[in-house]
């Protein structure tokens, strides 16, 4: 028994997140019985990645504050204030908390035509499934599962997103949800192919698909090495996360949020944050592939967290750009969206592939 624990301890201790800033505190805590094990567990890189960064904690905090950032920023662009009164001296920063609480305590209506079981299961399933890619995305050198096929697995998991959304729409059994679901399926196909090809171009360029290596080997960021791939990836990300101008499936004024039209209460609350979650993951991936992941001037006090810090900062930057698009563009029609996906973007993706091949051959 003890051997096993000691073995486990050694494994964990050999792979610890080092944060010089809090080391004195940790030393003090070591004196408390059993606390050593706890600290070792928390600071064990895979565990740290899942629970703290880039996983649940940072992800959760992002979901709680990012909508506020978006609403505030959009409000600024639109000549107004945005959420403000709730704690006026902080600019209404906990607005989303209030919304969450409201959704949490609201009635969840299951209408008569819905497929009751799936209708209730899908929002939760979707929420959990959407978290899976976070296991493979490295924040600096902190990653939950390090595998040479990281990018492929993340892409595969990202491909699951639309399936779940279609499930939501199907279980709702409503006319608007039906149209929205069909649109979602169309847009998904149009966006997924250039998206994958653009990612593929980066695999060729970096000659690896291990996300940690991909991030760390970028002495020049991918966006400079292959800007076309970056642009394709960004547009495809906007389509994948249903951002303007590609908010075609959920179009509020046409289909009343399409697949989610029938959801209420906390079920809708979960769906509402889904697009932010999706945005977080795809922005994270974009950061790793094109912006050098956690690369940045090292901050000595933060140690390993320095990389994570830069990663989060860059991810937020991409996410903000992605979300602020909605103040600039109206939405495309379905056929226009599909056309963009299947012709210019596909061509751009292929050019990006060619660029990668040429660069690899030349260098």
């Amino acid at each position: 028994m003890m051997e096993m624990i000691n073995g486990l301890m050694n494994t964990m201790l050999s792979n610890q997140v080092s944060i010089p800033l809090i080391e004195p505190m940790l030393d003090m805590l070591q004196g408390i019985p059993m606390m050593g094990y706890m600290i070792a567990l928390v600071l064990w890189k895979p565990f740290f990645a899942i629970v703290i960064c880039p996983g649940l904690t940072v992800g959760g905090v992002s979901l709680l504050f990012f909508p506020w950032i978006e609403r505030k920023l959009c409000a600024r662009i639109q000549w107004r204030v945005g959420p403000h009164e709730i704690v006026w001296w902080l600019g209404g920063v906990i607005q989303i908390l209030a919304d969450t609480l409201r959704f949490l305590f609201q009635e969840v209506i299951v209408h008569k035509d819905a497929h009751k079981r799936y209708f209730l299961q899908f929002p939760f399933l979707t929420f959990i499934a959407f978290l899976l890619p976070l296991l493979f995305i490295p924040a600096g050198n902190i990653v939950a599962i390090k595998t040479p096929y990281g990018l492929q697995i993340v892409l595969l998991l990202l491909c699951l997103f639309p399936l779940f959304v279609m499930g939501l729409g199907w279980a709702s059994n409503s006319r608007f949800a039906y149209i929205g679901t069909v649109r979602e399926a169309f847009v998904y196909f149009a966006e997924e192919v250039p998206f994958i090809i653009a990612a593929l171009a980066m695999i060729i360029l970096y000659k690896t698909s291990d996300l940690t290596l991909m991030a760390s080997e970028q002495c020049i960021p991918g966006i400079i090495l292959n800007p076309i791939a970056a642009l394709t990836f960004f547009i495809a990300a906007a389509m994948a996360t249903s951002r303007m101008p590609f908010e075609i499936a959920e179009s509020d004024q046409e289909l009343c949020a399409g697949p989610h039209v029938e959801y209420s209460g906390i079920a809708f609350g979960l769906i509402y944050v889904l697009c932010y979650e999706k945005g977080y993951i795809i922005s994270g991936l974009m950061t790793v592939l094109f912006l050098g992941g956690g690369a940045g001037p090292a901050i000595p006090y933060l140690g390993d967290l320095s990389g994570a810090f830069w990663f989060i900062l860059k991810t937020y930057f991409v996410m903000t750009t992605l979300f602020v698009l909605r103040t600039i563009y109206p939405r495309y029609r379905l056929d226009q969206g599909l056309k963009i996906g299947w012709s210019p973007m596909l061509i751009m993706a292929l050019i990006a592939l060619a660029v990668s091949l040429v660069e690899v051959a030349v260098i």
């Binding site: 509020d252 103040t327 109206p330």
Partner: protein, 786 residues
């Protein structure tokens, strides 16, 4: 409303262990579903836009009832809308709150005795009332605050007014109890072709030509006013007259279809007002063709839709109002504007609505008790499925299913439907057909106007379209002035022009605010409402009201506008440029938007004329018809401006045309203000109409009832056409020459005419294009429904 339903939501948030958290969350996250029920919705849009920014309170407008917890009932709930209100309320998850804004929501407001109005508080439990007609955005935000306070535990239901003791000057005088000021002729003589000798050379020529062309078919041809000719025909030969007018005289559209009920002579007068867009000299002329038919329960009359497609919807409307069956019109099966439980044929004279009482009597309620629609509350005789089911077009659904099509019912509560319902048949992503179901804001102002004094009808006339209030007001007043032959003082004419153009600018920015919303572009909405806020500020300073000034009165305007406001208006004409530029950059010149609008929803010149499109949308299709140019009124002929025309006829053309028009409007305002500033101060109300009260010529305050209370129009039909922001608005007042209330008032608003255009332009397009077309027409449902 049952007592237990009331305040249930408040009790709901106060129960449970976690109730403090629940209360706090609910309080700061009141999301209204924008269930636009009436004209107060304009002010809701303002409250949400950047001027007032409701989102500060965490109140985010959301279009979907399932995900919201707050209804703001904006004003009148008609019998048709009542069902929708209840459905939306039932759809919302608990706890849910209801706020009623506007006077109509409490006791019917200005429409208190309408046949189609009901009270929201009989349909859903209401938490808070905010009075006002319309309420201001500040008032609305105060209502949201009140709900927050109510969640915190305060017991309030409406704004409490302070009671003030007025100092009384000793003993009160005994005065006679005022009686009703209405003078009604018991058996009025209704004649719509009263001859008037006018100096109109072309009229005599035209009369001669008509006599030649219609030889043997007509009974009489009369010139009733400048640019107005009335042709009387028998019922048998009516069709032939219409045929000749259409074929030979090239009269290509119907401006108005009207039925006048004359019960004491046992007849209906059916009239069609036709005019021409294809012949230039006939453009300002309105030819009235009318006949008398016997008054029966359901009289039949041949429909003229085969000649003039533009008469289609108006004929259906007349079928609803009078029960006249227009044979050949396919819409005669059911009701078009009215709800199934609205009283039958409400505009017949024998259907009486509640009279106004001028004396408060003991025990008699001030407003009539209105029974809520039958389906509220849930009747035990009806099954769960049938309860609150919106009437479905079963034949349409069946036919669509046969053809492998998909049917969607859109509205009246839909983020992109406005206050009406569309039945959309689509095949794949292509629209096969759209069937409109209007009338959700039909408040029956035509009937109400028959029961009020001429001067009391002014507020009524502008309620259908409070986004373009001045032009609506102006149209009605011009009809009265035409009848009386009043000459308006020069200064007042300029003032009216300034205000009318400001109102046009305001309406344009309203439509340009709704358009981006339908495209999912909230910045465009915010930018254009910011500019509209400036326009409203000017109108407030001029008149004292944001949307419903009732400022233009027969013979002039209520009072002179001070110089500093005129200077401010002059500044506005330059200040708007910068903001307009920003708006154009973010919205109009947006590449995504242009790709959405170009070649979408095309109406060719012929189609536009055929379906009777009016206003800037007609001009966008290439017809050069602007009432301000064709039959100039006020001072439009003295100023330097151009009417805009396009030829594309697509959504982009409609938008660019209106944008160009706004620049012309700014030009007009600039010139008019400069002209007024140089003018010496003088009368703003015609002395002719003031009579003994000449001292009121600068300000009517205190003399309004004395001067206008007993206004009687000469016998005949008085028609005015005015170019409002969205097109030609036509008022037709029929007076019997004895009563001081109109015998019949007919209002044709531009949106009512453009409704057909939306349907035709969107057919064959993509599903998403429907909203582009809809918004490009600037459709404003209260205006269409009247």
């Amino acid at each position: 409303m049952e007592e237990e339903e009331k305040d249930r939501n408040i009790r709901n948030v106060h129960s449970g262990i976690l109730s403090p958290l629940r209360r706090w969350g609910t309080k700061w996250s009141l999301w209204p579903c924008h269930f636009l029920t009436s004209c107060c919705g304009v002010e809701l849009a303002h409250a949400g836009a950047c001027g007032f920014d409701m989102e500060r309170l965490g109140t985010l407008n959301m279009g979907i009832s399932r995900q919201t917890n707050f209804i703001i009932v904006e004003g009148t709930i008609t019998r048709k809308m009542a069902r929708a209100l209840r459905i939306v309320w039932e759809q919302m998850p608990e706890p849910r709150f209801v706020n009623v804004i506007g006077a109509c929501g409490q006791r019917g407001g200005i429409f208190w005795n309408s046949y189609n109005v009901t009270y929201p508080w009989k349909i859903v439990p209401v938490d808070f009332f905010i009075p006002g007609c319309p309420i201001t955005p500040e008032g609305l935000i105060r209502g949201v605050r009140a709900i927050q306070e109510k969640i915190d535990g305060k017991d309030i239901t409406t704004i409490k007014f302070k009671k003030v003791e007025l100092p009384s000057g000793g003993e009160l005088e005994e005065r006679m109890v005022p009686t009703t000021p209405k003078l009604l002729a018991p058996t009025p003589e209704v004649k719509i072709d009263v001859k008037k000798s006018v100096d109109w050379a072309f009229g005599n020529e035209l009369k001669g030509r008509l006599k030649r062309e219609l030889e043997g078919l007509y009974e009489s041809i009369t010139i009733t006013d400048t640019n107005r000719i009335a042709i009387r025909a028998t019922q048998e030969k009516f069709m032939d007259v219409a045929q000749r007018l259409s074929d030979i005289m090239k009269m290509d559209h119907v401006k108005n279809v009207n039925v006048i009920d004359v019960p004491h002579e046992r007849k209906y007068i059916v009239e069609y007002m036709v005019s021409s867009y294809s012949v230039d000299e006939l453009m300002p002329v309105i030819t009235t063709v009318f006949t008398e038919i016997r008054r029966e329960a359901e009289p039949e009359f041949p429909s003229l839709t085969s000649l003039w497609e533009s008469a289609n919807y108006s004929e259906r409307e007349m079928h609803d109002f009078f029960g006249v069956r227009f044979e050949g019109n396919e819409g005669m099966k059911g009701k078009f504007l009215l709800a199934p439980d609205t009283p039958e044929t409400p505009l017949r004279k024998d259907f009486k609505i509640e009279e106004e009482r001028y004396v408060i009597e003991e025990g008699v309620p001030l407003t009539p008790p209105i029974d809520p629609p039958q389906y509220i509350p849930h009747p035990s005789s009806v099954s769960e499925e049938e309860y609150l089911k919106m009437p479905a077009y079963e034949d349409v659904v069946e036919e669509a299913e046969k053809n492998d099509e998909f049917v969607a019912f859109i509205g009246p509560h839909h983020a992109g439907s406005g206050h009406l319902r569309w039945v959309m048949r689509m095949k794949g992503d292509v629209i096969v057909d759209v069937i409109p179901d209007p009338g959700y804001v039909h408040r029956g102002i035509e009937k109400l106007a028959e029961n009020r004094l001429y001067i009391q009808n002014i507020p009524l006339a502008e309620r259908p379209n409070i986004t373009d209030c001045i032009n609506m007001n102006l149209g009605y007043v011009r009809a009265i002035e035409d009848a009386l032959g009043t000459e308006v003082p020069e200064r007042a004419k300029y003032m009216r022009t300034i205000m009318a153009e400001l109102s046009r600018i305001g309406a344009f920015f309203y439509d340009m605010g709704i358009f981006p919303l339908f495209m999912g572009h909230s910045s465009g909405f915010m930018y254009s409402f910011a500019i509209r806020e400036m326009v409203l500020e000017l109108i407030v300073r001029m008149t004292g009201s944001r949307c419903t000034p009732s400022f233009i009165i027969p013979g002039g305007i209520r009072r002179d506008i001070p110089d500093d406001v005129l200077d401010l208006t002059r500044n506005f004409t330059t200040a708007i440029n910068k903001r307009l530029k920003k708006f154009e950059n973010i919205f109009v010149n947006n590449p995504v938007l242009i790709s959405r609008m170009k070649d979408v929803g095309v109406l060719t010149r012929e189609e536009a004329i055929k379906f009777g499109i009016v206003g800037p949308f007609l001009r966008a299709s290439g017809v050069e018809y602007d009432v301000r140019k064709v039959a100039p009124y006020e001072v439009y002929d003295k100023l330097d401006w151009e009417a805009t025309t396009g030829d594309a006829g697509d959504c982009l053309g409609r938008i660019f045309g209106r944008l160009e028009e706004i620049k012309q409007s700014v030009r007009i305002v600039k010139q008019a203000v400069d002209a007024v500033r140089e003018m010496p101060r003088g009368n703003v109300i015609s002395e002719e109409i003031l009579g003994d009260y000449k001292e009121a010529s600068g300000d009517i305050k205190g003399y309004l009832y004395n001067v206008y209370g007993n206004l009687v129009l000469p016998k005949g039909e008085w028609t005015s056409v005015t170019e409002s922001a969205r097109g030609t608005v036509l008022y037709s007042i029929i007076s019997d020459g004895e009563s001081n209330v109109p015998y019949r008032v007919r209002v044709i608003t531009p949106c009512w005419m453009n409704l057909r255009g939306i349907i035709e332009a969107s057919k064959g397009g993509r599903v998403a294009d429907f909203w582009t077309v809809y918004a490009s027409f600037g459709y404003f449902p209260p205006e269409a429904d009247r």
